[in-house]
Symmetry: C2
């Protein structure tokens, strides 16, 4: 069973990478672009066949490795 994970910085946490992208877009002529925030998108094969177990496993992976819960939020989608 596959899972998709979005890891994004919490609101209020500075995002220098997003700022760099914003400045680059301005330099390229996209003057009207406002705030840019960059996060991670992870697709993985959980190896579980039960959706509840798969979600629990991915939740655990997020806490232990994929996200830093101090500064990042994560959301998990398990695919049928």
């Amino acid at each position: 069973m596959k899972a998709k994970v979005h890891v994004t910085l919490k609101t209020g946490v500075l995002d220098p990478q997003g700022k760099a992208v914003q400045h680059a877009l301005h330099s390229l002529g996209f003057a009207e672009v406002g705030e840019v925030r960059q996060g991670k998108f992870i697709e993985l094969e959980t190896g579980e066949s039960d959706p509840t177990k798969a979600r629990a496993a991915v939740e655990e992976m997020c806490k232990k490795l994929l996200a830093n819960p101090v500064i990042e939020n994560y959301s998990i989608e398990v695919e049928g």
Copy 2:
């Protein structure tokens, strides 16, 4: 008008970052985890009020800066 962009490596392109995550998950005891692919997730304020124009602008940004069309795919969602 906000837009969300997913940038992922094309199928067949090696993903060393994903492989590293996969190995780390194995080391942490998630032995059943299969392929892991890592991409980017970008949220931005386009500054456009028309959805068609917003999408066209983001498409242009993807081609010029956000994605490398040689090895990466991108998908755009414009939010109402």
